[in-house]
């Protein structure tokens, strides 16, 4: 049997890159939501939650409108990189971020908020800047929960289907991620390929879940 593992590796790459990006942005947003009061906080909070509840095709449609070739973002992208963003594997990364970042932001916010405020207050009275307080006190104390959230976000990014197919399409060897490939294999009655990919994804996801559960603080720092 000559099985094409490209979709699997592509999904891994997409999930890895999107997780790195959404961790960066997500932590920042989670920090803002957990610690600051600002105008429009409710709106930001709702906007973060929205991708969790909207149908993926609706999300994909919005994304097409925002990053499509006719949008200003699409035009800027094309001017800079010499090609459109949509229907490339980079578009799949954007889709995966949209699909997984909300989960990460929500969990990271809960993790940051669960750190006993007395530790943060103590650090402040000791003269620590908010920056140092975050990196030296809050983040280390929340790190296990945040790592667990990152692992879950990675798993979710691996599995996106709806948004990906809307903005990245189904181009074998270029944008066909594993979820799309499985759908494609079943559609074209290629059961062997479907089974192999399904098993591989299941095993990987199970492993990630196990890791995430191990990371969830049990006896660890409050």
């Amino acid at each position: 049997m000559n099985l094409d593992w490209f979709p699997f590796w592509l999904s891994l790459r997409v999930a890895a890159i999107s997780t790195i990006l959404s961790t960066g942005v997500g932590l920042w947003l989670a920090y803002l939501l957990a610690n600051r009061t600002f105008r429009g906080k409710d709106v930001v909070d709702a906007a973060v939650t929205l991708p969790l509840v909207l149908p993926p095709t609706v999300l994909g449609y919005y994304l097409l409108v925002v990053i499509g070739r006719g949008s200003w973002f699409g035009r800027v992208w094309e001017a800079v990189f010499g090609g459109p963003l949509v229907f490339t594997w980079q578009a799949a990364v954007v889709a995966a971020i949209l699909h997984s970042a909300p989960l990460l932001i929500k969990s990271a916010r809960a993790a940051l908020e669960s750190v006993d405020h007395d530790y943060e207050r103590a650090a402040r009275t000791l003269g620590a800047s908010e920056w140092r307080l975050f990196w030296r006190v809050t983040l280390p104390l929340a790190s296990r929960s945040i790592l667990a959230a990152v692992a879950l976000a990675f798993a979710r990014a691996m599995g996106d289907f709806g948004v990906t197919i809307m903005v990245a399409g189904n181009i074998p060897g270029r944008t066909q991620t594993v979820a799309v490939a499985i759908y494609h294999a079943v559609e074209s009655d290629n059961g062997q390929v479907a089974r192999a990919l399904v098993l591989a994804v299941s095993a990987l996801t199970l492993g990630i879940l196990w890791l995430a559960n191990r990371l969830q603080p049990g006896q660890a720092a409050r």
Partner: protein, 357 residues
């Protein structure tokens, strides 16, 4: 020196009534105690000083530095206030060793000096041997000293302690008092300590302010407050006295004497300044200064009131007797032994101990 004037209003919300904090006091170096029942606003006051709570109005001045000023909207962040804060749970960072905890407070110093200062503080608080341990591996007393040491390393100009002895057993409590006394001697900074434990006020306090429902109801040294509670409210908050209502029958400033009537009995008391004949006054007296003897069928003598024993409560040094008419007396154990089993007693009030509010 610190001068505090803070006002903060909390509107009534679901599950809590409206509350207004309105306190004003000054504190010199030495230990100043904020004493009061739960919900009196003690910790809120501390938090306003430390910068965790934004008051509606007021002014907080620490030495020559304005920490907060309502009208001109000055409010320094906690980082810039230089107030050391010792939390109830000590708040040592659980992911750092004790040494790292201390070093965290001294990070503005160059490396060598930081190391020297941390070492010095560890030695001062007898923590050198456990410096490498994580807070979870320290004993209660070590955690307590570590937390004070860490606060002092940041070179604060004021030390705030939020019920540091709460939930500690007696030996740890004694150890903590020792540490606080050491700080008072060794560091010339004002210390403000919140507590609802009266023993603590006497063990540590140079000055105390009694808070009730967001206001300071009396200030002074603990001894002065004990001798002369200003109002019935304070007397009740202190919870030390026997309180009863009596009528003034006669007053004689010349011989420093008065007569008061409680129920059908007449008692001699010192002159009661500011009272008039016929006034109803609250009399307070410390139960341990009252004597009680078995009645044995005798008629009550001077300043004696007959009473029926309701309850007897064992205390470390004496027995507390509670009588049916609400009066109390504290008698030494051997004095009680003679009257064990008796129900009818005579309570004797030394005239000099009866005071009116």
């Amino acid at each position: 020196m610190i001068a505090v004037r803070v006002k903060k209003h909390y509107a009534a919300a679901r599950g809590s009534a409206a509350f207004t904090l309105e306190v004003e006091f000054r504190a010199q170096s030495g230990v100043t105690i904020l004493f009061g029942p739960s919900g009196a606003g003690k910790t809120l006051t501390l938090d306003a000083i430390a910068g965790f709570l934004a008051p509606d109005d007021g002014r907080i001045l620490l030495e020559d530095k304005l920490l907060y000023d309502g009208p001109s909207q000055v409010s320094l962040p906690p980082q810039a206030r230089h107030c050391g804060y010792v939390f109830q749970n000590y708040a040592l960072f659980p992911h750092m060793s004790l040494r790292a905890n201390l070093a965290f407070a001294a990070e503005r110093l160059p490396r060598l000096e930081r190391h020297r200062k941390v070492q010095e503080m560890l030695a001062r608080f007898r923590l050198e041997e456990v410096a490498a341990r994580m807070p979870g591996e320290l004993s209660g007393g070590q955690r307590q000293r570590g937390s004070v040491a860490r606060a002092l390393l940041a070179a604060p100009r004021l030390l705030l302690l939020d019920e540091p002895a709460r939930g500690l057993d007696a030996p740890l409590r004694a150890e903590l008092y020792e540490v606080i006394r050491e700080v008072r001697e060794g560091f010339q900074i004002p210390t403000i300590l919140v507590t609802h434990d009266l023993d603590e006020c006497f063990a540590l306090g140079d000055q105390m302010h009694i808070l009730s429902a967001g206001r300071i109801v009396q200030s002074g040294t603990p001894e002065a407050v004990l001798e002369r509670p200003a109002t019935l409210e304070v007397a009740r908050l202190l919870g030390l006295y026997d309180l009863f209502e009596a009528e003034v029958r006669s007053l004689d400033p010349g011989t420093n004497a008065s007569k008061i009537r409680f129920g059908e009995y007449e008692l001699s008391a010192p002159y009661l300044p500011g009272k008039f004949k016929g006034d109803r006054v609250w009399i307070y007296v410390l139960p341990e200064r009252v004597e009680a003897v078995p009645r044995d069928g005798r008629r009550p003598g001077a300043n004696q009131i007959p009473a029926t024993l309701e309850r007897m409560i064992e205390r470390p040094h004496a027995l507390r007797l509670e009588f049916s008419n609400g009066l109390r007396a504290e008698v030494p154990r051997d004095a009680f032994a003679g009257g064990a089993g008796t129900r009818e007693w005579l309570i004797e009030y030394p005239a000099a101990e009866l005071r009116a509010l």
